[in-house]
Symmetry: C2
């Protein structure tokens, strides 16, 4: 816990002097003032985060963390639980959505077993930080122990720091875990004081009856475990997941190291929510990639005051929306660093 507190304490406010310099640079480029809209805002935010006037985004990483959820016993997912492990193999062999979109964005994918229910085949490309063989069924008791919640965050910090040493200029969050929209919905309900009914979606494809059951399961899990919103570790342990804890650690560690962090969809958003409730300043290091079809995601973004870049009806997770946004971030920074100025290109400025 001390380690989490230390990381949280080391997250600084963003340097406003850098923001002003970035704005000045943007305003001198050969385009009408502000005409590249959110691309300009994004470039500026990345200057602020990295504390660099001309940041470089050479090393791009997407962290895709996998874990199982005991709550799948309650029939909350349209897919069988085995899919979590099967998809990890798919990530490792490069055939999943995140592999395709990460390659497109020039990002490497770091695949982590945070708590898949089975032992996975040994693979040098797989990072193993297994906290346990899936969480327990939160509808019958806490999903994990407090110690497991802390260890999952610690593991996320370690995962980030290892990749940081290898070179890491921008990171994206991603996840895989059958049942994890149930956990993300519960976390969101607790932190944002919203009824489960108002934020629970169909996940990977539940029908009407399945959705009703999922809402009831979330309500039961919350009333049974009584997670304390003032204690983020308590909330994570009672209704969270190991991949969510891992992502929380990654988010805190990225903010501490001044690395821009692109948040993917609803589950990544729930992890961002845990990180934000541990240290609100972490929010300034987050870039919201998109707004998911899962209705809880918008509630998370509004709660933290984040505005998504894309709205493409995505609901896959894995880090896919994050990969698209990393490509936008790359474009934004190139605008800042590669465009000619009015002076260098001999272009007349606006009439006075």
């Amino acid at each position: 816990m001390e380690r989490i507190e230390n990381i949280a304490k080391s997250i600084c406010a963003i340097d406003s002097a850098i923001l002003a310099k970035a704005q000045k640079r943007l305003d001198n480029l050969t385009k009408p003032l502000g005409s590249l809209g959110r691309l300009e805002e994004l470039a500026k935010q990345i200057c602020g985060i990295t504390a660099q006037e001309t940041p470089l985004l050479n090393n791009k990483v997407i962290f895709t963390l996998a874990a199982d959820h005991g709550v799948t016993e309650e029939g909350v997912s349209a897919y069988p639980k085995e899919v979590t492990a099967q998809m990890v193999y798919n990530f490792l062999s490069g055939g999943a959505g995140i592999n395709v979109l990460a390659r497109h964005a020039g990002a490497r994918v770091v695949v982590v077993d945070m708590g898949v229910a089975v032992d996975l085949k040994a693979d040098s490309r797989l990072v193993v930080k297994k906290i346990n063989y899936g969480t327990k069924n939160m509808a019958k008791g806490p999903a994990m122990s407090r110690d497991e919640a802390i260890r999952s965050i610690h593991s996320g910090i370690e995962i980030f720091e290892t990749e940081f040493k290898r070179g890491l200029d921008i990171a994206g969050t991603g996840e895989m875990g059958i049942g994890n929209t149930t956990s993300a919905s519960a976390l969101t309900a607790v932190f944002t004081h919203t009824p489960a009914k108002a934020l629970t979606g169909r996940g990977a494809g539940l029908d009407e009856r399945g959705l009703k059951n999922k809402i009831a399961v979330i309500e039961r899990s919350i009333s049974l475990n009584k997670p304390d919103p003032a204690d983020p570790i308590d909330v994570l342990s009672k209704v969270g997941g190991f991949e969510i804890g891992g992502l929380t650690g990654i988010i805190l560690a990225a903010a501490a190291k001044k690395v821009p962090l692109v948040i993917d969809g609803f589950i990544s958003g729930a992890a961002a929510l845990v990180a934000y409730h541990i240290e609100p300043k972490a929010k300034d290091y987050m870039i919201a990639s998109h707004c998911s079809v899962e209705s809880g995601h918008k509630i998370i973004l509004d709660h933290m005051g984040l505005k998504p870049l894309l709205d493409l009806n995505l609901r896959l997770g894995e880090g896919t929306g994050g990969a698209l946004a990393i490509s936008l971030a790359d474009a934004a920074v190139k605008i800042l660093t590669q465009m000619a100025t009015f002076k260098s290109a001999n272009v007349s400025e606006k009439k006075k």
Copy 2:
């Protein structure tokens, strides 16, 4: 005119059998059904446009057409007219926004002088299709002759066909022309029967007084010239521009050759509107990249029933939003062609 009619006649309806095959392929990929949202729709549309089950987008081109507008005499722009020519040089030396974003998307930029007011320095990279030295002031008479309007469309067809021979799998439209939001606003008002006041924006940065003047100039140009919305060439000649005519030709030629065409912002949208009124089937070959800050753009998109991919408060033009959307189109097609299927990856499907 016969050439335009022939091109328009050769635009076919999209093959629905291909769409069904693309949908089947998408549904077999290792992701919940439809979970990549608009990326999946986009991939499917590109299959339909190209009539290919596994299209390849290797050759990407952005056509950035420049021309001057006589209506700048009326003080409708925040920038001096000289900027059109200055920006052409900036495009050629690679320092403009479109150069940066096209490089990011892996697209080449084809820069065309459709009617800049001055003779530009000879440059082998510049395509010269100068119809005239800028249009005439539409507030005092037709912007161009009917023959010039036809020639501008012909030139666009030629520009497209030359690049098509070099290899062209997806194209984006772009433009530069001080004063051209005034022309685009007038075209939009005429074709969509909307009052100028409801669709005229600040362009590159007009103040309140400038905006009022711009609206009055557009109203005057329309009432004086009486463009006939049933005759798109008449509308183009009376209140259009040479770069807009050129883009109209590019759009028609792309549709005729089954090449996906990414429409940039408001001015490109006005060209799309002219093409659509010449041949409505051209619309099915268009991909709307983004929704511009210029309010007329949304009116155009609604009129044609196009839904933009991005909403990033862009208002630069040049093809910049198109470049970002070409990158999304690339990602969408890679999803279709590179992702593993449930069967190939041994992943269990949804519970029945």
